[in-house]
């Protein structure tokens, strides 16, 4: 499989866009014409060829540019990547998981050679050839988690399991939907989900926690979550909200198509072997409204989802200011025809 990597930006002039193939494989998150928060966890099994679910770790045409954007964010704010000292074993577990998966499924791009603890990692798109000793952090140019997550799309949090809870004790978070690792690090599962409205009453996080505490090695799970972002910006952190927040007020009927993006998170969770920690990966996909409506079913359905969304969820997701403008724009692409069940385009 060959991937053509696009040269594009996620800030300033925002040249990011999706190729027609990338649009076809977009993980559209709505299988019905309405949305309500739910646990919606399923096994992270291999999905259809060319879909984002084909392999455990998805590398796509935006890889090289996303990694460049991550490096810029880290240079400006090193606290986006942090790890408490007891998480070092989990960091190495993550190195193994990501390198093995990437090398196995994208052999033209990545090669991993393991000779006992002596490992050689070749990353062709980023022009890296690194020999190191697995388990010896001094043989890598960065700490293990930072090293590998500078080379893998998606944000990553490492959750330690103790006292029947999960504790977010490490992470690489540079493209988050408005939460701060620097603030949340050390919190348990229920604490870091506390800002989600409605969830408190539904107690769904308690069920999700119980489920995850029993997550088994070799049985990863995934769920989709979504929000919206103005401009194809990866760094929608609270730290920089004072810089990107104003973008939300710039949406007009004329620019909805290219400015308003649906942002989908493919969240996958693996039990890590040596540490018993859980890695929580948050792989983001962005699609603007012009691109979305090239799939008629998605245009109709997203229009209806957005129209019916409960106000408190819209507020939590930060959509309030441009929601109506977007609904009005999408209405022109919704003829009222019924939509077929399931996520995929017709």
């Amino acid at each position: 499989m060959t991937v053509h990597f696009k040269q594009e930006t996620f800030r300033d002039d925002y040249t990011y866009s999706n190729s027609p193939e990338a649009i076809r494989r977009f993980p559209f998150p709505f299988d019905k014409d309405e949305y309500m928060y739910s646990v919606n966890i399923e096994q992270h099994m291999p999905g259809p060829a060319k879909s984002p679910f084909e392999f455990p770790i998805d590398i796509d045409e935006h890889y090289v540019s996303e990694m460049r954007d991550r490096a810029i964010t880290l240079a400006q704010d090193p606290k986006r990547c942090q790890s408490l000292p007891h998480m070092i074993t989990a960091e190495w577990d993550l190195v193994e998981l990501l390198m093995e998966s990437m090398a196995k499924h994208y052999p033209e791009l990545f090669t991993l050679t393991q000779d006992g603890d002596r490992w050689r990692w070749i990353n062709r798109p980023l022009d890296i050839d690194q020999t190191f000793t697995f388990g010896d952090a001094s043989t890598l140019p960065y700490p293990p988690m930072e090293y590998i997550t500078r080379q893998c799309q998606g944000d990553f949090a490492l959750l330690d399991q103790r006292l029947d809870n999960l504790w977010m004790d490490a992470g690489m978070i540079t493209s988050q939907a408005d939460w701060s690792l620097d603030f949340d690090i050390g919190m348990n599962f229920l604490e870091w989900h506390a800002p989600v409205p409605l969830a408190k009453d539904m107690a769904i996080f308690e069920r999700a926690l119980k489920f995850l505490l029993n997550l088994q090695q070799g049985r990863p799970v995934r769920r989709l979550n979504w929000t919206m972002t103005i401009n194809p910006r990866l760094d929608t952190s609270p730290e920089n909200y004072d810089k990107w927040g104003a973008d939300r007020a710039t949406v007009t009927p004329e620019n909805v198509g290219r400015k308003v993006h649906l942002r989908v998170e493919l969240q996958a969770m693996w039990r890590l072997p040596r540490s018993n920690a859980i890695v929580f990966s948050i792989r983001g996909y962005l699609i603007n409204m012009d691109e979305l409506v090239t799939v008629p079913k998605w245009a109709r359905r997203f229009h209806r989802v957005l129209r019916e969304l409960r106000p408190e969820l819209a507020e939590y997701k930060g959509l309030t200011r441009y929601r109506q403008t977007t609904i009005d724009w999408l209405a022109k692409h919704d003829d009222g025809a019924p939509t077929s069940p399931g996520f995929q385009p017709d």
Binding site: L84, H86, T89, D93, D160, Q161, R162, L163, K210, L213, N214, Q216, Q217, G218, R219, P273, R274, S275, N276
Partner: protein, 320 residues
């Protein structure tokens, strides 16, 4: 087991580690390497006994340096419901078995400043793995290990070689008593205690910890246990329309599996909560043997765990 990943293994070595304890070394049948695991993990061993499959959970002692094998320890229990007897009498080198992926319900508290590992008898198996892991991480730890006599030699020799005088041994035949009131005083703030052994010992150590003034949050115990035996009773699944008999020497989970029904389960020892189900009717007393349900949940009579709990009565109807 309920869709979990299973691994085919071959028995590579059997060793009489103590009078009633055999140590088994399992190698992957395909010759590959077995998954890493965190200290405190167990696997469920599936034993084919004719038409019947016996499933028992055993803590992992260690994984060979090259990843080629695991070791477990099996105590032959006098009132064995079949599993330990099978392992002791019917399994020989070269036999094939299946095991599940490691699951950890007894994790170390890694942010702790120091770790006290307390083992009694066969309870040494997870403690052995914990000591190795703490040593690898360069943590502060002590091992306190109570045995009946020198016949537990195999574990003792290996642990002494690895951990030197961090291992303190208590031999009952020499009238050496593992007394928590001797061990706990003066332990530095931030110490965590882990205990695994016979139920009575666990209770005594936990109580001793509280008596020594420790907060309960710092006292950790391996809680899973073998399903207690009892009187037979009938089980009816309302949704599935299935009825079966639970024999005195088997658990509800085992009876359902024998009847071809595969309810969700994980630890099979009353610890993880995976097999908790809703009770619709019970014409007798629910005997809860798990460590998972809250007192309120037990009192409600609405929930029961299939792996270790029973009915003292004629028929139990479940929402399955």
């Amino acid at each position: 087991m309920s869709g979990g990943v299973e691994i085919a293994v071959v028995v590579a070595e059997i060793e009489q580690a103590a009078r009633n304890v055999k140590r088994f070394r399992f190698a992957a049948k395909d010759g590959g390497s077995l998954p890493h695991f965190a200290a405190g993990s167990h696997v469920v061993v599936l034993m084919r006994d004719g038409e019947r499959t016996i499933r028992n959970a055993y803590s992992l002692i260690d994984r060979a340096e090259d990843g080629s094998s695991y070791r477990i320890g099996v105590l032959r229990t006098p009132n064995s419901r079949g599993g330990s007897k099978f392992m002791h009498e019917r399994v020989s080198v070269g036999d094939e078995l299946r095991i599940t992926m490691p699951v950890n319900l007894f994790p170390l508290f890694h942010p702790g400043r120091k770790h006290l590992l307390i083992a009694g008898g066969i309870g040494v198996t997870p403690i052995y793995a914990m000591a190795d892991e703490l040593q690898r991480r360069g943590a502060l730890y002590e091992i306190h290990y109570a045995v009946r006599d020198e016949a537990h030699g195999a574990f003792i020799d290996e642990m002494r070689a690895r951990h030197g005088d961090r291992l303190k041994l208590y031999r009952r035949d020499l009238e050496e008593i593992l007394a928590v009131d001797q061990i706990l005083p003066g332990q530095p703030l931030g110490t965590h205690l882990y205990v695994c052994g016979p139920e009575g010992m666990i209770e005594a150590v936990l109580e001793g910890g509280l008596e020594a003034g420790w907060p309960k949050e710092h006292l950790h115990a391996e809680r899973f246990q073998t399903p207690p035996t009892g009187e037979p009773f009938a089980l009816r699944l309302a949704k599935a329309g299935l009825t079966c008999e639970v024999r005195g020497d088997q658990s509800m989970l085992e009876a359902l599996e024998e009847a071809g029904f595969d309810p969700p389960s994980l630890c099979r020892g009353g610890a993880c909560g995976q097999c908790a189900v809703d009770v619709l009717e019970a014409d007798g007393e629910l005997i809860h043997n798990d460590h998972y349900l809250s007192a309120a949940e037990r009192a409600s009579g609405e929930k029961i765990m299939l792996c270790v709990s029973r009915l003292k009565g004629r028929e139990l109807v479940l929402d399955l």
